[in-house]
């Protein structure tokens, strides 16, 4: 993808215009189609040869990138030390469960009051089947995976102005959109509007395919009847005995459907990053960080706030403060440094690197993502609405409601993801609220989709990523211009320091970006260490 000058629009300009004219989902989709979501470069477990004798590496940050780097370098025989700001490993790989306390920047502490076994992942929460690096580490570390339901045809699409605010089942919107479009295309074909483009022989095949893809009847119409109801669902489902006869449902009229705007999120589940099968760790995404932590326990120093990074010709020193003990400054030193501190923070840490890397670190603001977890007294979405996992998308500021992909049919309470906001305007707004306000707003908006909210709401917890002390942002928000100018400089070694993390990848926000960037970085580190060893 090259930027063109003159009258041609840049990708970013184009995307912005798509966002303005067609909405956030269309833009998100366009971002994917333009390659923002690249396939993982993971080529199977890395196999480093033995480390040079006595070689050491300092890893800054015990998020996924730091943990992967530490794990592989230790296995190769490097002497590894990890410094981590939090009192736990994982970084943004994190699960909040009942009893957890979380204090955000500004000082407000929330206590998670979920019932045993219930949780929310404030950060990453799903693993596409092609994120082979993450899946590989889960397998190697014994982290059990289960399906993550991304696409649920019985979940809703909702807009406050669409159909009087009445949520529509994805099943019906999808069937009606496909059906109407197929009918129009069939009509155009039969009216010879496509004669210039499609041969007569192919037109016959096209018509057959449209009947199949759009659930058209024998006259190529998308109308109320058995064909359409088999896709969109029935007014009364077929059964047995005397009450067996089904009643067909009435499709939404084309114009109503188009004007509702609900088609905008239809293709989400078809995105490469969202296609089935997706996975989640049993018991929460944080299981991955915890599994790495068990493996690397003696190497990780927690509560270590890095305040200075200094390299010289022989190695790298990191000065840190112990935030737990409140004791004075200490220094860790090694031959090499893999620094995975988010750029939102690294930009403020003195570090003697050259101008190219320093400018790259300063060039990336962070997205303002935000999630709200809500516990309800019962799993009404399953009991009342037969929604088992999956996601309801809405134009309301909460963005989406996601239903748990585990413990189906369980008695007792249940936890929903009540808001996942990555639209910048709404997420900045929600970040500016108190945690209690965010929760109450999520309940208020969600009750427009599920009226049961009002009666069944129990408690909630809200995590705004700019308020997370260890991250101070959700993920690196690269512009095309910044990436063209700075990305290679960000990833290149500067002396004895190399950076890794999702910010050093083409997979923003995805853990797979952290994994693949860490593997790329340590591969280069290993080569340099051997070259230096040979020269010594």
């Amino acid at each position: 993808m090259t930027e063109k000058s003159g009258t041609a629009l840049s990708r970013r300009q184009l995307l912005t215009m798509i966002g303005v004219s067609a909405g956030a989902t269309a833009m998100y989709q366009a971002m994917h189609s333009l390659g923002f979501a690249a396939e993982s470069k993971f080529q199977g477990p890395i196999r480093l040869s033995a480390a040079p004798a006595g070689a050491s590496v300092l890893v800054l940050g015990a998020g996924i990138a730091g943990l992967v780097a530490a794990y592989e370098l230790r296995n190769a025989g490097y002497k590894v030390q990890v410094l981590e700001y939090n009192a736990r490993a994982g970084g943004r790989n994190w699960t909040l469960r009942g009893g957890d306390r979380y204090t955000e920047l500004g000082g407000e502490t929330q206590e998670c009051r979920f019932d045993p076994g219930l949780y929310i992942n404030p950060g990453p929460w799903r693993l596409p089947y092609h994120h082979r690096g993450m899946l590989s580490y889960c397998k190697r570390l014994g982290v059990a995976l289960e399906p993550f339901v991304q696409i649920n045809y019985n979940a809703y699409l909702h807009g406050p102005k669409a159909f009087g605010g009445k949520p529509q089942r994805l099943r019906a919107v999808q069937a009606d959109y496909d059906g109407h479009v197929a009918e129009l295309l069939a009509k155009a074909t039969r009216n010879h509007a496509l004669d210039a483009d499609v041969t007569a022989e192919d037109q016959a095949i096209l018509l057959s395919s449209l009947r199949s893809s759009g659930a058209l009847d024998s006259d190529y119409r998308f109308v109320k009847g058995p064909d359409s109801s088999e896709r969109r669902g029935f007014e009364r489902d077929p059964g047995g005995g005397l009450s067996a006869r089904p009643a067909f449902s009435e499709p939404i009229a084309l114009s109503d459907l188009l004007r509702s705007g609900l088609w905008a999120t239809l293709s989400f589940g078809a995105l490469y990053d969202m296609q089935t099968t997706m996975f989640q760790p049993v018991g929460g995404m944080g299981q991955v960080g915890q599994a790495f932590a068990r493996e690397l326990a003696p190497l990780i120093r927690y509560n270590a706030k890095v305040v200075d990074i200094h390299q010289d010709e022989r190695g790298v020193s990191a000065t840190f403060e112990d935030t737990g003990a409140g004791s004075g400054r200490q220094t860790a030193r090694a031959d090499w440094c893999v620094c995975t501190i988010p750029l939102s923070i690294l930009g403020q840490v003195p570090m003697n690197v050259g101008a190219p890397m320093a400018r790259a670190i300063a060039a990336v603001p962070y997205c303002t993502g935000l999630k709200v977890g809500l516990q309800f007294k019962r799993r009404f979405w399953e009991e009342d609405e037969q929604i088992y996992g999956g996601i309801t998308y809405t134009d309301l500021p909460i963005g989406q409601i996601s239903y748990p992909s585990s413990r189906f049919f369980a008695d007792g309470k249940g936890v929903l993801l009540g808001a996942y906001i990555w639209d910048m305007r709404n997420s900045m707004d929600f970040t500016s609220m108190t945690p209690a306000e965010r929760v109450s707003k999520a309940v208020e908006y969600g009750s427009q989709i599920h009226p049961q909210y009002t009666k069944e709401f129990d408690n909630g917890i809200a995590v705004a990523w700019h308020r997370v002390p260890s991250a101070m942002g959700c993920f690196g928000l690269w512009s095309d211009e910044a990436r063209a100018e700075h990305y290679d400089n960000l990833c290149a070694f500067d002396g004895r320091i190399v950076l890794a993390g999702e910010h050093a990848s083409y997979m923003p926000a995805w853990q797979e970006g952290a994994v693949t960037s860490a593997l790329d970085a340590i591969d280069r580190l290993h080569q340099r260490a051997h070259a230096a060893g040979a020269a010594a």
Binding site: Q13, P365, M424, D429, F430, M433, T434, L477
Partner: protein, 156 residues
Amino acid sequence: MNGKKQAAAAVLSSGIALASIVLSGLLLKGEARADSADNFDSEAFSMKDGRQVYEHICRGCHMANAGGAVGAGRFPALTKNPALGSTQYMALTILMGKRNMPAFGAKYAVGFGGPPVTLSEAQIAAVINYVRTNFGNHYRDPITAAQVGALDRSAR
């Protein structure tokens, strides 16, 4: 950058009235905002008052009392901060962003999954003047929207 600028301008000028959504019956802890409205139902950030701009955007990082915060890094306080002495510095920082702080000028702002959040010259002037006369700040030299616009045109 014309296409992007026009698109952003189209958003700003769409002028859909802000719907005021009232919180009902839920007790709030901490420092609630002056208004219970949110941005919903407007195509862009349309609030014009300096206090509203602060409370719906800036406050997320700079905090309710403008005291900033310290974690692994820090969000600067907007009190007793010598940088506030220069309205031009503040305007350019808001227009162009600085490190983790996103740009809010239409020429520089980056969005994700939707249009970026942009502020007009008038909104930027309003929030600068609000911050510089609140939170214990007592500056007496306000900046105008026209001055913000001139800075925007002179940058880069």
